[in-house]
Amino acid sequence: MTTPAGSLIPSFADSLTRPSAASLPTRAWGLISAVNLRTKILGMVLALVLILGSGVTLQVRATLSRTLMAQLQEESVSLGRDLAARSTDPLLINDLYNILQLLRETQMNNPDVRYAFILDHNGRVVAHTFSGGFPADLVSANAVAADTHHHTTSIRTEEGVVWDTAVPIFDGKAGTARIGLSEARMRATVAAITTRLLLTTALVSLVGILAAIFLTWLLTRPVRQLVEATEAVRRGDFSPRVRRWADDELGELADAFNTMTADLARADAERQEREQMRAFYLRQIITAQEEERKRIARELHDETGQALASVMVGLRNVEEASSAAEVHTRLADLRGVASATLENVRRLALELRPSVLDDLGLVAALRRYATEYTARFKIPVAVQIIGLDDWRLASEIETALYRIVQEALTNVAKYARATHVSVLLERRDGQINAIIEDNGCGFDAEGVLRSGAAENRLGLYGMRERAELIGGTLAVESQTGCGTTVYVRVPVGE
């Protein structure tokens, strides 16, 4: 901080007037925002009270001084005129004792009167209220022309200002009356009232501080709670609820906060549930994968292995064949076994991943699957395709829809004891609707989806997960004895 050259202003004023890079409002705001709420409110209340108190005190003091000063001057004039009128006759008949009595009475009855004296027409003091002498130069301090009403002037004395009024007695023919009224009592009154006002200001300041502390407590209590609750929410604890202390903005904030934490808690619960479901499904996928491998292994072992073993036995038989005709017959058998094995392997491959889905699309793949399904499980499947004949969808959508239909049909074959299944695939309004309906025994769809047994029937969840993965929805409608319908809806765009 550098003091401007030649400046004698103390550092305090300097700190206020010091030029700064930041603008004054910015600095003021910096100052205000740096303190906490309590100090702000306290400062506000104190500043208001003190400024108001000072303003009122200044105003009252000024007005009072003015009024009392005017009164003092008026009193000086009126007392002077009274004195002049009452001293006329005694002065004319040279009744000095009476004049002195008059002067003393005037001084005694008016505490503001510092002195009074009478001059004769030659300007000589004939009577005065001083005892043991007379102040030098007092006579010449004020004068009045014989033809004027009065003349008042202020005289500086060692006791303060005295308002001196000179009044001609009997138009100046008898002399002059002089009276001096001291400002001391007036000043004392002003000082007393100023002190009282300042005391009042101090008292009000004290009350203001208490009120500010209470107000701060009132204001910061909900804020503090909100801060604590927010901290809890940040840690992941959604249980705290803030109390609504008052029906004001803070109350609204508390309400909004409570609503928000409730929403957050609900969302968190949903998220956790989904998370659990996903984890569970992941395990299921891994399990399913193992199951699939087990099945393939079993099929390879049971069917392809058996077939190849038969081929080995047949080949040995061919080796041991005694005649060409027998070789011929045995080779024909072997071919039959090889052909059946080849068919099995092809079916296995097809089930794992139908290449027709990639090559010819969803519709062709479904139709083929339906044909094979009917051939395998002896359940007729009616496939109806609407608005999708030459339409190729994104491959993940085609795969998902294919698997969902496949899973649904597998479920029908496994559990439904149905005699007929229909599959409807329809493209309408930018979305694909797939409906798989059977006339089987049905089941309690809601119950299954809710129950713990869901894990056992996870096919349903798998189907739903697949649908949701591609942005679609899946619903199952079923009642015991009334068949089952699976609705799938997937947006695909125009």
């Binding site: 100052l31 200044l58 000063m69 008949i93 000589r124 043991g132 102040p135 130069d137 300042l198």
Partner: protein
Amino acid sequence: MRRLVVLLVVILCLPLLVSCAAPTAADGVPTIRLNDLRPLPATPPAAVAPLRVAVAAVISPRGNVDSYTPLLTYLGQKLNRPVEMVQRRTYAEVNDLLADGQVDVAFVCTSAYVAGKQDFGMQLLAAPQVNGDTVYYSNLIVPANSPAGSMADLKGKAFAFTDPISFSGRVYPTSLVRDLDAKPEAFFSRTFFTYSHDNAIRAVADGLTDGAAVDSLVYDFAVERDPGLVAKVKVIHRSPPFGIPPVVVGPDVRPQLRAELHGLLLDLPATPEGPAILAALGFDRFVSIEDAAYDSVRQLTDGDTAAR
């Protein structure tokens, strides 16, 4: 933080600054030390001894100043020396001043002259002439609405005297009471002194007293000046004529001065200023007068003195 402290200090100091903002006193006026008391300067002896003229309080001091100032100013010019007017509350005080030589000339009351002549040789200088005569009367006055028609009707009432030795204001009305075979102290319910005739008239006009006796010259002069008095005051009795209040000089006044003053007074009507001076006094002129003019007064005054 330091700035915050500074700001707080400023706010807290604000009320204190208020106390400092005192109303400004008159500047540039020399300071007078009221407690530095010094003896008053002694009155310097006059280079020329002034002619001191006493005026009896026939009318109030203020009225005397108005009436006599032109005459005294004139005398001062003619005598070429300052003239000082002296007034006292009572006639007795003026007589004392004359006896001591503190006053050279005096306008006195008739009975004061009688007493002064007897006591210390007061000398007649001249007498005013009013309405062509050198006599005056004592007027018994009551409020205009009073039913009283004579002194007898004022029994048990309040009565105002002018001065203890005033002839028209006390001696004559007292003689009227004595003629009724009563004493004033018992006759009236209350008596008091007004010390001048115009104050007595005012006391009656204002209803302060039920009656008073006043100098007819003063009464006529007052009525002339303030005609409204007629509506408030009425005269119910007029005394026989008595010698008019004279102008006198003290026993020690030099004969030359006495002669000079006599000439000046008597010559007034012939001077340019004279008529205005006489008009202010309400006199026609000044004339010489003999002591015998006051014999009738002396009789009543002696009776009064004997009664007291």
